[in-house]
């Protein structure tokens, strides 16, 4: 323990020495543009990404995720684990020890009481806290002493790094927010717009949905950071305009979330004034193959899972799914629709590295002949019109997705590829607000899945896939009984898979968890009920003169803004 302390101290000293040439505030003003403007600086009152990221310059969690999805300590010296005793052996509590001498921007010391307060604040029943899921399973947070925080869980929590970890659940100051509990939370406008934090910057002026002015926190723990003396955080406009203001007019240093046509972005970048940076987290554009029968003639039983009855006439045959997957040229899909912001993937769980399987990489190259052979072997033979059939069942699918130009482009390409192997596809697109709206009375939601194939993107927050992989348990299948709520969209059900999920919830060892996650991923892939297409990344751009950017999609993109500096 002591040795480790010394070591980390030495590391910090080395970093200090490296950055010693820079003085706090020496690099002047940093201009950031988020085309969606933050509406508040309190991430607990708004779950939106823009608010969380803006707030991450001011308020900090105990630990963050770096650009590779690794968890890194922030307000603590060391990450608690079972090995170092920070996590109890029964996995029901975790102890965080705060760094010494951390001050709030008002000069008062950060204590464990602030962490306790944060938990109370977000779990207050009338507060409407948007991040309360981060405190799920937490029975209490205790201040053991001024610097020691103990979080107790109701059940064993093999991955205990949820509460107070990541930009979504930072610690807020008790002194400032103690009168803002519960129903009073929205009335504390001054507090919500100008939270006191331990981060590198302090809000000087907050204009909701418009602009935030910040200046360097004079009480920040590293005397030489941040390099920028002030930040202008502007919101508004659209993604293309934000990209232009960094890559073409150089008015801004950093622009966030540039979801625009890949060729437009490439053209702008070609001007040589800035760089586009991409970070891949866990977003995967995928096809779900319906395992239940969506035939309209079934009436109430349409697309309803019934313990293996009511199965889809042909998509439950893995050979069909396999052929469909083999026939797709994912490189073309990436090139046409995503450019730099996408990469080919064969896994529904593509990251972090320790969870990413390599068993399915064969799908990365298109294999039309192979696909045909698979279908031939399974008895699917071309009919008179070229569409394959078996026992009077034709391989003809209804393929739906949300309305979005990239998705419609992908649909058209995939339809063409499937036609080559004798599978017919009828395309359909539904307005995103309806498709993702979740209205149980609408027939067009992605949960109802009144189609054979559907395509969209999903991901999970943080870096632990346990909850995400649990999405495909049998009990998660949306049915009329659950008001069509549920995340097992393709109605995959395998008791062996459920067993793996249960095992993972008991396993604390990281490597073991990685093995289980890969196994689950492979099981899903081999069932061919999900066909992953593109691993999608977050895209931002920064000026050439801005150094230190470590773009991450795992946490706030501004997670290391204290290290950003001007390249001279």
């Amino acid at each position: 323990m002591r040795v480790k302390h010394l070591l980390s101290g030495a590391c910090a000293a080395a970093m200090l020495a490296g950055a010693a040439y820079a003085e706090r505030g020496a690099d002047g003003q940093l201009n950031i543009i988020y085309w969606q403007a933050p509406s508040t600086m309190n991430p607990y009152l708004s779950g939106g990404t823009k608010e969380v990221e803006a707030a991450s310059m001011v308020v900090e969690p105990l630990a963050s995720y770096d650009e590779n999805g690794n968890i890194v300590p922030r307000l603590v010296d060391e990450l608690p684990t079972v090995d170092n005793g920070g996590v109890s052996a029964d996995l029901k509590s975790i102890i965080w020890v705060l760094k010494e001498g951390i001050l709030w921007s008002d000069g008062s010391p950060l204590t464990a009481a602030d962490a306790v307060f944060t938990w109370e604040y977000c779990t207050h029943p009338e507060g409407g806290c948007a991040q309360s899921s981060y405190f799920d399973g937490v029975t209490s947070v205790e201040a053991v002493d001024d610097r020691t925080i103990k979080i107790n869980f109701a059940d064993p929590k093999p991955y205990p790094y949820t509460a107070l970890v990541g930009a979504e659940s930072p610690i807020i100051q008790k002194a400032q927010f103690q009168d803002c509990m519960g129903a009073k939370a929205p009335e504390c406008t001054d507090q919500n717009f100008g939270p006191i934090g331990t981060g590198p910057f302090v809000v000087t002026e907050f204009k909701a949905n418009d602009v935030i002015s910040l200046e360097a926190n004079s009480n920040y723990r590293d005397a030489n950071k941040p390099a920028f003396g002030s930040v202008l955080f502007k919101g508004g406009g659209d993604a293309a305009a934000a990209a232009r203001s960094v890559l073409e007019t150089s008015e801004f240093d950093y622009a966030w979330n540039l979801q625009i046509e890949p060729e437009v972005l490439t053209q702008m970048e070609a001007q040589g004034k800035g760089k586009v940076v991409v970070s891949f987290q866990t977003s995967v554009e995928r096809l779900h193959l319906n395992q239940t029968n969506p035939d309209p003639s079934l009436g109430d039983m349409r697309a309803v899972y019934a313990e293996g009855e009511n199965a889809h006439p042909f998509l439950t045959d893995p050979a069909v799914g396999k052929a469909m997957s083999m026939a797709i040229d994912r490189d073309i899909l990436v090139e046409a629709g995503y450019g730099k912001t996408g990469q080919v993937t064969c896994n529904v769980l593509p990251a972090p590295e320790i969870y990413a399987s390599t068993a399915n990489d064969a799908c990365k190259t298109q294999d039309i002949e192979g696909a045909k052979a698979v279908l031939d072997a399974a008895g699917w033979v071309p009919g008179s019109d070229g569409v394959r059939e078996k026992d009077g069942v034709r391989l003809s699918v209804l393929y739906q997705t949300s309305t979005n130009s990239v998705r419609q482009g992908t649909q058209a390409l995939v339809k063409q590829m499937w036609a080559e192997i004798g599978i017919e596809a009828e395309l359909r697109n539904i307005d995103a607000s309806v498709f993702f709206g979740g209205d149980p009375s609408s027939p067009d939601t992605f949960q109802k899945f009144y189609a054979d194939v559907e395509m969209y993107t999903n991901n999970f927050s943080g870096a632990d896939p346990e909850a995400y992989m649990a999405n495909w348990r049998c009990s998660e299948i949306p049915t009329p009984d659950t008001q069509w709520q549920g995340s097992n969209i393709q109605r995959f059900c395998n008791p062996a898979y459920d067993a793996l999920v249960d095992e993972m919830s008991q396993t604390a060892d990281l490597n073991e968890r990685g093995r289980l996650a890969k196994e689950m991923n492979d099981m899903l892939m081999e069932s061919y009920s999900i066909i992953p297409l593109v691993h999608r990344g977050g895209t931002s751009a920064h000026a050439n003169s801005l150094g230190g950017v470590k773009m991450t999609d795992w946490d706030s993109e501004l997670w290391n803004i204290a290290d950003w500096h001007r390249i001279k």
Partner: protein, 336 residues
């Protein structure tokens, strides 16, 4: 005139109440979920709690009455307190609070008023200053080259949407020439000449884009009104009196032609406060128009309700102003 004004104002009160109710009802009926814009990673039960904390659990009439109380009683009292420094009652009053920012809507509006008035208001002033001479000269020299060019420019101003002219200006002046900023800095404060110059530069493009559209409209209107009056007998009378041509046009014709134009200008004023949704978006001015559109997208009902209602108040008020102006300018009209 005074009686007329008072009578009109009294009629306005029930009208505005009905308007406020209709707005509230429409917003309530329209689909939209204040938690709809949150990431998919936030679970449904948390969303439900957020909705409850916003007061969406209560029945419609209660929510309407609450809004009425907040807007018609609490907000004015709060204003009075701020102006006078008195404390009325216990000072603990619930104000109309926006759902997305959790801050008082009236404060948000007050915060955005300056940039909207600067940019949109200035564009209106510029448009008036350009449109009136163009209209006068076009009418005076009807079918001349000047008139033809004026007609052409007006057609362009009418038919080319602001998002297009705005983009063209940005590409030319910001990207290619690098003369003007493409992003409006709302935190900029004018303290001296150089900062004033910065303000002028950042206002130039949005103001011009908006002014083009308004100029097109006003100059056509001015021209038509001038043409109406130029052919009137009293103009010939004025010439027969031996007045200078300048006096004939500027005193006799222009003043009479201004009557309808002034009315149109007055009726256009509420639109200034409404901001310019598209232009504000393009240049990131983030005024009232941008506030409204964000409110609509985020289903921020208290914000949209309050803003829309304030626009209704302004429209009713400026209709009255326009009518009164007409009465003042045109002696033939009497309100008694």
């Amino acid at each position: 005139m005074l009686n007329y004004t008072i009578r009109r104002l009294m009629f306005a009160i029930p009208t505005l109440f009905v308007i406020s109710f209709i707005i509230f009802a429409i917003l309530d009926l329209s689909p939209g979920d204040p938690t709809g814009n949150l990431p998919l990673t936030i679970p449904p039960d948390v969303r439900e709690k957020i909705r409850e904390s916003l007061g969406l659990g209560q029945p419609f009439p209660i929510r309407y009455l609450k809004w009425c109380q907040q807007f018609f009683v609490n907000e004015p009292l709060n204003l009075i307190e701020n102006w006078t420094g008195w404390t009325i009652g216990d000072g603990e009053r619930l104000r109309v609070t926006s759902w997305s920012t959790r801050s008082p809507v009236v404060d948000l509006i007050a915060e955005r008023m300056p940039q909207t008035l600067w940019v949109v208001g200035m564009s209106y002033v510029v448009a008036i200053l350009i449109a009136i001479p163009i209209g006068v000269i076009s009418a005076y020299r009807q079918y001349s080259l000047f008139d033809q060019i004026g007609t052409f420019v007006s057609m362009v101003g009418f038919s080319v949407p602001t998002f297009f002219t705005g983009l063209i200006l940005i590409v030319v002046f910001s990207v290619n020439l690098g003369w003007l900023p493409s992003v409006y800095d709302t935190t900029h404060k004018v303290t001296d000449w150089s900062s004033f110059w910065v303000q002028v530069r950042q206002m130039a493009m949005p103001t011009m884009v908006l002014a083009l559209a308004t100029t097109a409209q006003l100059s056509r209107f001015m021209r038509a009104s001038m043409l109406d009056n130029l052919n009137q007998d009293y103009v010939r009378t004025a010439r027969a009196k031996g007045l200078r041509e300048r006096s004939v046009v500027l005193i006799h014709v222009l003043r009479n032609s201004m009557i309808p134009v002034v009315t149109v200008i007055a009726l256009g004023v509420p639109a200034i406060f409404g901001g310019a949704i598209i232009t504000e978006q393009i240049f990131k001015v983030n005024g009232l128009g941008a506030l409204l559109i964000i409110g609509i997208q985020g289903a921020d009902i208290p914000l949209v309700q309050t803003l829309t209602f304030l626009f209704a108040v302004l429209i009713v008020f400026f209709n009255l102003i326009a009518d009164l102006l007409y009465g003042i300018l045109d002696p033939r009209i009497r309100y008694d």
